[in-house]
Every structure is written in structure tokens, then in C-alpha cells.
Subunit: 305 residues, 2 copies
């Protein structure tokens, strides 16, 4: 039987202290069967995004070890950063990659969430495909008001955790665990320090205010750089292509006389998302991903999968 392969992208609320970042990542480096593909700390967001690929068992073991580090080293009472968050370990999504269904990832999320609370005492919300209440499918709904508001709201029926007592952990907050499709974290930096421009552009591009159906986004200030950012999650890159997002933002920003300075893929991205954009701009006709040497080789080596 072919082995199951999942992706997992835990987000931790620490993007500034190198020693803490290294301690968080260390369990993923060390655990066999869990491959650390990438990790990126952002000091503006004060957030660490880790990309893992591997088998479900080893990935869960490493996650529990990293969560103990986060619980010990991160205090939400003093944490500040440009990115919404409710916990020291903020989000843990499980993503099907090979020989795993979405339903199996949902089961995995639920079983892991129960064990996570038992071992850490940090309450858990389930989101996206793993949501137990329809309104919790959307991460931004679960995180509404962030840690500061959820501290009191967790006692209400509407906002109480799915696993654990109706209150947050006093320093580590809560963790949002789920199953979802591959998500691309994509940022577009604009050449102005006017936050309102980023917020206006974010409203144009995100689905919640009438933009592209599978884009979530907010406007942020990158104060250290004197720029603003449209910070996005592309939750279905096959339907909302990267190039379309970029060109829509370019068009909207020009209304304010503002140009795109640069863009950024945060963490991992499937090859198809970038090839699709290359094909658009280069006007490639009749192109197939099997023409890419490395993808053809991977297909050969992948064997029975």
C-alpha cells in the first residue's frame, strides 16, 4: 500500500526571537517521517509559519513537542504583531497530498485536537472542513476579536471552544485545528505608507467584500519598511490564479497612484500555481506540466502513488 502523505502548516505567534523560533522548529527537524520543507519568521507579523510534509503519525508527534515549546515560551498577554491570532500555537491545518482523502484529514484533525488538549491543556477550535459548527468553517470568524476579545467570549455558548473548558489558556490562548485544501499565503507590497490604500485594495480583491471568490485578505502596514501590504490567503489557487490576483491589485492600486513594489509567496506553493501564471504572461499555448523535467521525473519516481 502506498504511504499516506499530508502537508501541515502550523503557525506560531513568534516571529522575532531567533532562539524561540529555533526551539519551535527543532522537533520538526528531528522527527523521522516528518520533513521540514520550509519555515519563515516574519517580525512585522510576529509570526512563524512552518511547512511540513510527511506521514500523519510522525507529524502529530512533532506538533505536540513544538506545542509544549510554544506554551512555555510565548505569552499572548504580551504578544504584539500585525497578524490576527488567538494562540501561541495559532493554527494547525492538515492538508491532503497523496493517498489521503479530505475526510481522512478531517478525522485526523478531530483525533489530534482531542489529544492536543489532553496533553497541553490548550483549548481547541475546529475550522474549515473539520468545523463542527457551520459558522466556524471560516478561520477569520473563529479568530474574530483575536486573543484579547476571546479571553472573555470563550465563556459564551457562541464562542466556547470545541474541545476543553469554556476559557482560554492564560498565556497560550487557544489553537485552531482543521483540514483544508492547499492554501497559498501571498502578499503584495505597495509603494506607499498609506494604510488606507492597502485596506481599500484588500476590500476590492477579497471575496468577503465582493472580490475574487477564493481570496481572503487584509491591509497591513509594514512600518519598518515604510510600505503597506495586502496580505492574502488564496484558498483555491486553481480557481483564483495568482496572476489574476496580482493584476487586479495592480489595477486597483493605480487608482491611488500607487504601484506594486514586490510580491511574496509565504511558505510553500504547488508548482502548478506558478506555472499557470508563467503560462499566462508568456502566452504559452498547449503547455502541459508533464513538459517540466522535474515534474515528469517526480511522476516516474512516485511509482504506485
Amino acid at each position: 500500500m502506498a504511504s499516506q502523505l499530508i502537508e501541515c502548516v502550523p503557525n506560531f505567534s513568534e516571529g522575532r526571537r531567533p532562539s524561540v523560533i529555533e526551539a519551535l522548529v527543532e522537533p520538526f527537524r528531528r522527527t523521522e517521517g516528518c520533513v521540514l520543507l520550509d519555515h519563515r519568521a516574519d517580525p512585522d507579523h510576529n509570526r512563524l509559519v512552518v511547512s511540513l510534509v510527511g506521514q500523519p503519525g510522525p507529524i502529530q508527534e512533532a506538533l505536540l513537542q513544538a506545542a509544549q515549546v510554544a506554551k512555555e515560551k510565548i505569552d499572548l498577554e504580551t504578544h504584539r504583531g500585525g497578524h490576527p491570532r488567538v494562540g501561541a500555537v495559532d493554527v494547525i491545518p492538515f492538508i491532503p497530498l497523496r493517498n489521503v482523502t479530505m475526510a481522512e484529514c478531517v478525522e485526523l484533525a478531530h483525533a489530534f485536537g482531542r489529544r492536543y488538549y489532553e496533553e497541553t491543556g490548550i483549548p481547541v477550535y475546529f475550522y474549515e472542513e473539520a468545523a463542527l459548527r457551520p459558522e466556524r468553517r471560516r478561520l477569520e470568524k473563529v479568530r474574530q476579536g483575536q486573543y484579547e476579545a476571546l479571553k472573555t467570549l470563550a465563556a459564551t455558548e457562541e464562542r466556547r471552544p470545541d474541545v476543553g473548558q469554556p476559557k482560554l489558556h492564560p498565556s497560550a490562548g487557544a489553537t485552531v485545528i482543521g483540514a483544508r485544501k492547499f492554501l497559498i499565503a501571498f502578499n503584495v507590497n505597495l509603494g506607499t505608507d498609506n494604510l488606507e490604500v492597502a485596506q481599500a485594495v484588500a476590500r476590492c480583491v477579497r471575496s468577503s467584500s465582493g472580490g475574487l471568490a477564493h481570496v481572503k485578505g487584509i491591509g497591513l502596514a509594514l512600518e519598518e519598511r515604510g510600505l503597506v501590504q495586502v496580505s492574502m490567503n488564496l484558498v483555491d489557487y486553481e480557481k483564483n490564479a495568482l496572476y489574476r490576483v496580482v493584476e487586479l491589485i495592480r489595477m486597483e492600486a493605480r487608482r491611488w497612484g500607487v504601484e506594486i513594489v514586490e510580491t511574496e509567496v509565504y511558505g510553500m506553493i504547488p508548482a502548478a500555481a506558478l506555472l499557470d501564471s508563467a503560462a499566462y504572461y508568456l502566452q504559452l499555448a498547449g503547455f502541459q506540466t508533464g513538459q517540466v523535467v522535474e515534474l515528469a521525473l517526480l511522476e516516474m519516481m512516485g511509482g504506485e502513488g
Copy 2:
């Protein structure tokens, strides 16, 4: 010891008869250790381009079998097509991929060329890194005047084959065998039927007339489609990026009021070449190929290589 992996891209002078194309490709399908990544027949060029990846031994065996088919089925006396050629098997380049040096590919080309003549009676010219005379490094020099001129010129000291008698095979011509870097065959179709525009644009973009240093190109008519084409080989895609070639052609073609209709990658392309262009157009900053899930996985699976 890690196994050697080469690419090989034999070009055959047949792009129209499906049964002959299938017979040419069949040895590559059948031979274990030789993986047929892609094959593309072009009726305008009347040419078949086959992309193989595998171990040097099996690839050579399959090549000899395909050459016997080509010798039997293709007659250069009656062959017509838009692409320069000197033989039924026109070109065979060996390209280092993994655990093989360029020097080893040159040795391989020389040994294979001698055996090829012994078994097929088709004389051989060596080109690029395998050239035995400096003026034969460039394929266009070896093919100058094509089959029709070389028939008589092969008797001269200047143009005589490197392996075999000083004359061409009476129906299969000659074969040009060599070793080289990865080459991208890239075509840009222009929205006009005026061949002079394609020729003028080709002169602007190719190195031989002052264009980009690692681009070879000619203007061709795509008569069936009422378009013209700048047909190119990008011989060092790391130095002459795809996007730069496209945008230079776009700029030059507009001088004639002509736009790019579409472009085409013919055969295989390394992922880096397309990712580089995606990064340019999307204005990606700080992007690393290790962020691409499939490339990171391939790296993991590649092991000791």
C-alpha cells in the same frame, strides 16, 4: 553509487505520418531504463522531437533501434519541411542531468557516434561540446546548406563527416551527434502572414545578428495557420531568461504593428526556467525554488544524488 542520469533529445525528420512517428517512438517506450518523457511531431517543421531521460546504456540501445526505423522509413530525397535538417535522424544531443559530467557526455557522444556508423552506415558529425573541429561546435554551421548541399560538400575536406566515408547516406543523409547544456526550444507566433516580420524580429533577438547572447532563431511561415513564427533555441536559459526573450520580441514586433499571438515550449523545459519568468512578472521577491512543494519533494526523494 548513485546512478547516472542523462537527457537525450533525438530529432527525426518526420512530423506528418502518424504510423512512422509511432514506429520511431516505440523503442523508447519499450526500453527499460530509458524513459520517454515527451514526443512532439510538427507537420509544418515535418520533424519529430523526442525527449528521453534515463541511464546512458539503455538510451543508446533504444536510439540505435529508432535509427534503423528512420533509415528504413524516411527518405531525405523527398522530405520537405520548414526546419533545417541533414538527416533522417537529424540530431542526437546528450545532456548531463545527475551524476554525470559534461566531459562524460562528450565521451559518450564519441563512442556512440562510432558505434552508430558501424551499425547504420549513416555518417556522423560531432557538434557542440563534442565537436572535433572548432567550427563544428555550432549546429547551424554543421547543417549549413542542409541535406541538399551537403550531399556534394561531404566530399570536401572542409565538410567531410567526422565518422564514416566522405559522403552522405543516399536516403538517410547524416546524423549530428553531440553533448550540450539543456536547450529550450521556444517558438513565438506573430499575428501576421508576413514572413519578413518574423525574419526581422529573429535577427533582433538572436546572438548571431547582435541579439541576446544565448539565443538562436529563425523566422518561419506557419502557412496553414496564416501566421509567422520566430523559432528559437535558448541554449543557456539561466543567462537569457524566457521573459526577456518574449518581451524583446514583443517590443520589436510592435514596430511592425504586430502582436504576439501565442508562444510555445517545444518538448521539455527545466522548472527553473518557468519559475524565473513567473517570479519576474509576478514581481516575486525572495522566492526560492525550495518553496515549490514538488521540487522540495523531489529533493527529498532524490536521496544521495
